[in-house]
């Protein structure tokens, strides 16, 4: 059906979206603790914690340099509009599925194509998700809200209007708490949430590389979105990026979206203005789009701040105009996309095809009670467990990791030790094997068991690590592996003494050197003994007995 109805249309000039700018660039994240891929790679083992800090800090040195350049007499004001694509099974107003990357115009129907006579019917999950996020953002909910039509013409908007919410958003007046990572100065920040409203996504235009026409893909048309508008509470790129990262974490915790920026499931438009310190009136705000990662978001904002401050300081602040600028990843600059001449008149009016959205206190209470432990609460709880903020941020970044951590601790393991194991060997393994924590074979109770076995001296730490990799890749139980491989630590002093005697007897030269004062060789002997015991000798006992033997004159 689609093929008979769709057609290409030729458009010579597409001034709004130059094709080159519509390509999705896979922004790689360097500077924040907020992306899994990045955080995992810096945790080789618990002993090398410091490595992570230095790695992050070095990556952000450019950031801080830029920030330093901003004269202290200007104050940047940043507000963020975020569109979150909801992971409902079907679209907002029809029963089409949405799968990112599907062949163009394959998940469409008369309703999302806006054919004559088609009507929208609200997917009730959209309200569930909106209420969830509204509650999680500490918002006031509108018990009686409605949908409105936002009207404008564009080929990716099949009905000529977007079903959205205008004057009565489902949620408003909330806030989001963020812990700034230590390497960016740390601290706890609270950013205001102006509103959360429900709306539908538009389709996509596909611009041919050579041809002078464009094609429309309506797969995305009608996919439900939540638009979250922040208060203008951020003051630099890091705060903005951390706000966005926390929002991503939140929607993932809530299960309302996959929050994937590369696929466009989480899209941030930022409004940036600067004003001289002491001035109460806001400066002219500029909207920056095309931010495909938190990293580009931070860089784009800092660039934009510098640009505006520079214009200010050169007395050219009249050149800061209301406009939409695009972040160009290639040149690391923002460039003008379109100037806003006056306010666009979207001629909002209540959507007559949809009844009012009326929710009850009971419904809200049910959702409130079903909310998972949210990142902020989790962070405070982990903090109270005595974990460092670094550990806290790592563990809470991914809900599944946090759950794994909680489950392991619940089995009696020491929190700090669990954190160390997860952040070092387990994280490294997941990164190498490209697995998520849900995909590894290690169960939390086994990690707890492993930690207990080491603590109880049943196995050595070294053997513990070996077992861990077995458990991670093949599964099984700690007890089973210890028995199967005969890995129980040797704690019988007599048995260890036999190994020591043997090693000393086999290394007369080294013994002579040792006794001649080269005491460093103790390590060598210890290694040999450990080797002989196949790593099972209790290191404490081993060293004690070895020293006695080495130092005895017999």
């Amino acid at each position: 059906m689609a093929s008979t109805i769709f057609r290409t249309f030729k458009v010579h000039l597409f001034p709004l979206y130059p094709p080159s700018l519509l390509k999705i660039t896979n922004g790689v994240l360097f500077f924040t603790t907020t992306q899994q891929s990045q955080t995992q790679q810096h945790h080789q083992n618990p002993q090398k914690q410091t490595k992570k800090v230095s790695a992050s800090a070095s990556a952000t040195s450019t950031q801080s340099k830029k920030l330093d350049k901003i004269p202290k007499d200007y104050e940047p004001i940043i507000g963020i509009e975020t569109h979150v694509q909801l992971s409902t099974l079907t679209k907002a107003f029809c029963s089409c599925p949405y799968n990112y990357g599907s062949h163009p115009n394959t998940t469409i129907c008369p309703i999302c194509m806006g054919l004559p006579g088609a009507l929208p019917v609200l997917n009730s999950k959209v309200i569930d998700f909106a209420v969830k996020l509204g509650l999680a953002l500490n918002c006031r909910l509108a018990f009686n809200s409605k949908f409105d039509r936002k009207q404008y013409f564009y080929p990716d908007l099949p009905k000529g209007y977007q079903i959205s919410q205008f004057d009565v958003p489902i949620a408003s007046g909330g806030y989001l708490d963020v812990d700034i990572p230590v390497e960016f100065g740390g601290g706890h920040k609270r950013f205001g949430i102006t509103r959360v409203h429900m709306e539908e996504d538009a389709g996509k235009l596909m611009h041919t590389e050579i041809g002078n026409y464009s094609q429309v893909d309506l797969n995305r048309a009608g996919v439900p979105l939540l638009e979250i508008v922040s208060e203008p509470d951020m003051r630099n790129g890091i705060e903005a990026a951390e706000y966005a990262a926390e929002l991503q974490r939140l929607v993932r915790y809530l299960g309302v979206s996959n929050g994937n920026m590369q696929e466009g499931s989480l899209r941030c438009d930022v409004n940036v203005s600067v004003r001289p310190i002491g001035q109460s009136k806001f400066g002219t705000k500029v909207e920056v789009k095309n931010l495909n990662s938190f990293a580009s978001m931070g860089r784009a904002i800092d660039f934009e701040i510098s640009r505006q401050v520079q214009l200010y300081s050169q007395g050219q602040d009249d050149q800061i105009v209301q406009e939409t600028r695009l972040w160009d990843e290639g040149t690391q600059r923002t460039i003008t996309m379109r100037k806003k001449e006056g306010l666009a008149d979207y001629r909002y009016f209540p959507e007559p095809d949809l009844p009012a959205v009326i929710i009850s206190q009971e419904y809200v209470d049910n959702i409130q009670n079903s909310l998972p432990e949210l990142p902020e609460i989790k962070r405070r709880r982990y903090e109270k467990m005595g974990l460092s903020m670094q550990d806290v941020l790592f563990l809470t970044n991914d809900k599944n990791v946090a759950e794994f951590f909680d489950a392991t601790v619940a089995k009696g393991a020491d929190a700090k030790l669990v954190a160390n194991w997860i952040m070092s060997d387990i994280a490294a393994f997941m990164k190498n094997e490209k697995l998520s924590i849900n995909e590894i074979k290690l169960a939390p109770e086994e990690l707890s068991q492993l930690i207990a076995s080491i603590k109880g001296g049943i196995i050595s730490g070294k053997i513990g690590k070996e077992i861990l990799f077995e458990l991670l890749s093949k599964g099984g139980t700690v007890k089973g592996l210890i028995e199967e491989k005969d890995l129980v630590q040797i704690v019988d002093p007599l048995e260890i003494q036999k190994f020591v005697d043997k090693v000393i007897a086999e290394n007369p030269k080294q013994l002579e050197q040792y006794r001649g004062g080269k005491t460093k060789l103790q390590g060598y002997f210890a290694g040999q003994v450990m080797k002989l015991s196949k790593g099972k000798a209790n290191p404490g006992l081993l060293n004690k007995i070895l020293l006695e033997k080495l130092n005895s004159k017999s």
Partner: protein
């Protein structure tokens, strides 16, 4: 044509007013003299049987095998072909072969003893702004010329599921915007009572088709009176259900908060049976009601079983503002006669005042235009419909819409766009919504004191083609009787109640009965009794007699 004599009510082909016997005789005799009608005689009219349900008699004839579906289809097709060149009711008529194939299949099933639906063999015409998957659906607009929807409207789907045969797509004012059907981009439809006159609109094609018996019943749409006013002009029964009673899915939206799919029939029973078929909740229309749809059939008892005062105790309110200045005196007297008839049936009739009545028209035109400016945004030439090629996007939009829409549509889009614009919204759209609330409340109050309200369906009978074409305000004023009902979302039934002395055979006048929300059953019951006991008049237009002859 033997068929017709078994199905048609006795052909009392024109009005017969007992009050004005001499005048009537003159008119009718002159008419009859110019058309020799073997089966008709003046004596029929005084002893005429009231209109019977065509749907029920078709069912009876088919199931008793007095007639085959193929014969029945052929007789309708023959009359359709015969009358269509004068009327132009249809924008699309399927091949006879397709219709006859459906009829043959129906005969096979009846012969085989299979169950057939309540609309089996019933010829149903569908207004062209209602989507049909197997026929073009243009809404009478150039911008949708040749457009074929990939789905049936829910109402059409239900008609088909119950055995109805879609006989074609009827003409209308473009997107339902108009009151004469002259606003069609393709053709002008004539009134079967006088082909020099308009059939009303916007569902003029559907009304004319039923009036001329080109079909048994038809679907129309009513946003501000588009079913009721043409029903009045064409002398047929028109039913505008409560907003939400019938799914709008597949109805090309004009003004979503006002639009309702409605029914035309040559009897109250037929309109009611058709409503029964299409009413009810639809998961594809969020504004469709979940209220149960009662079976209306028990209301359609035969005239003989009615007592002497069958409507005893019914409180009828005659809306004073509708029989005031600006309404044709002939219309007023027809309505007053109808009121007398109600009294004869045992009702108490009182005049009621709806002070907000006159506010309805401006409020309606603001709201309807505002919603239409939005609803018609999708006709942009990008995905379907007429595209006027251009090198640049804005020109593509501009040219496609400039050439695709007619002037009335453009005017309403402009008005609506203006009314919704920043800075004007409060003064126009919002204010109109407030008026709407006032109107809704005043109806509610009036319907607390009365069981039904009555008024003319239009301030005049059908006027000449072209008479108001260049005077949109005069045309808008003609909607005064009907728009309030849409604003209040109430059901209303229009049925012919008399004539004005004009045209070759007189022109029918429609009585509008307004009921409480979702109380179509009461309207149909009262309307049926009114109809069955109104022995003075018959409402079969001359063109039917011509085609029979």
């Amino acid at each position: 044509m033997k068929m017709l004599s078994t199905l048609q009510t006795p052909r009392s082909l024109s009005r017969f007013s007992l009050l004005l016997p001499s005048a009537v005789t003159t008119t009718t005799s002159s008419h009859f003299s110019s058309n020799s009608l073997p089966h008709a005689s003046l004596s029929d009219q005084s002893t005429a049987v009231p209109p019977q349900s065509q749907i029920l008699s078709i069912r009876h004839s088919l199931l008793s095998r007095q007639v085959t579906a193929v014969d029945l289809a052929q007789s309708y097709l023959t009359r359709l072909r015969l009358t269509e060149p004068q009327l132009h009711s249809f924008l699309h008529i399927p091949d006879d072969s397709a219709v006859l194939a459906e009829a043959r299949e129906l005969d096979r099933r009846i012969d085989g003893g299979e169950e057939v639906g309540p609309l089996a063999g019933v010829f149903v015409a569908v207004k062209d702004n209602i989507c049909t998957a197997d026929m073009p659906s243009t809404a009478g607009s150039r911008i949708l010329q040749g457009y074929r929807p990939p789905f049936d409207a829910t109402a059409v789907k239900r008609v088909k599921e119950l055995g109805g045969i879609i006989v074609g797509k009827t003409n209308l004012d473009e997107f339902g915007m108009g009151s004469t059907t002259e606003g069609s981009a393709f053709q002008v439809t004539s009134n079967p009572w006088d082909v020099s006159r308009v059939p009303g609109g916007s569902s003029g094609g559907s009304a004319a088709a039923v009036s001329a018996r080109q079909c048994v019943v038809s679907l129309g749409s009513d946003t501000g009176g588009s079913v009721r006013q043409p029903a009045s002009f064409c002398g047929v029964v028109g039913l505008k259900p409560t907003y939400g009673r019938v799914s709008r899915f597949g109805l090309m939206a004009y003004a979503s908060s006002l639009d309702a799919i409605g029914c035309f029939g040559s009897s109250v029973a037929d309109a009611g049976i058709l409503l029964n078929a299409i009413a009810g909740h639809d998961k594809f229309d969020a504004t469709s009601s979940k209220q149960d749809v009662p079976n209306f059939l028990p209301h359609f008892v035969s005239e003989s079983s009615l007592g002497s005062k069958p409507l005893k105790g019914l409180r009828v309110g005659l809306i004073r503002e509708t029989i005031d200045d600006g309404v044709d005196s002939g219309v007023i007297s027809a309505i007053r006669e109808a009121a007398l008839h109600f009294e004869e049936l045992g009702c108490s009739v009182n005049e009621v005042s709806l002070p907000s009545f006159s506010l309805g028209l401006p409020a309606y035109y603001i709201l309807a235009s505002s919603e239409s400016s939005s609803n018609l945004s999708r006709y942009d030439g990008i995905r379907y419909g007429n595209q006027v090629f251009a090198d640049e996007l804005d020109s593509l939009y501009g040219n496609s819409r400039a050439q695709g829409f007619g002037s009335e549509v453009k005017m309403r889009i402009l008005m609506g766009t203006y009314a919704l614009s920043a800075g004007y919204y409060d003064a126009y759209y919002k204010r109109a919504q407030q008026v709407r609330t006032i109107i809704r409340n005043s109806f509610k109050e009036a319907l607390n004191q009365n069981d039904i309200l009555i008024s003319p369906a239009a301030p005049s009978a059908a006027y000449k083609i072209g008479a108001k074409k260049n005077d949109p305000l005069a045309m808008y004023a003609g909607d005064i009787m009907t728009v309030n009902v849409n604003l209040a979302g109430l059901p209303a039934l229009v049925l012919p109640c008399g004539f004005v002395d004009d045209g070759p055979a007189g022109l029918p006048v429609g009585l509008q009965m307004i009921g409480a929300a979702f109380d179509e059953g009461e309207l149909l019951r009262v309307g049926h009794i009114f109809e069955q006991t109104l022995n003075k008049f018959r409402f079969v237009p001359p063109i039917v007699a011509d085609s029979i002859a």
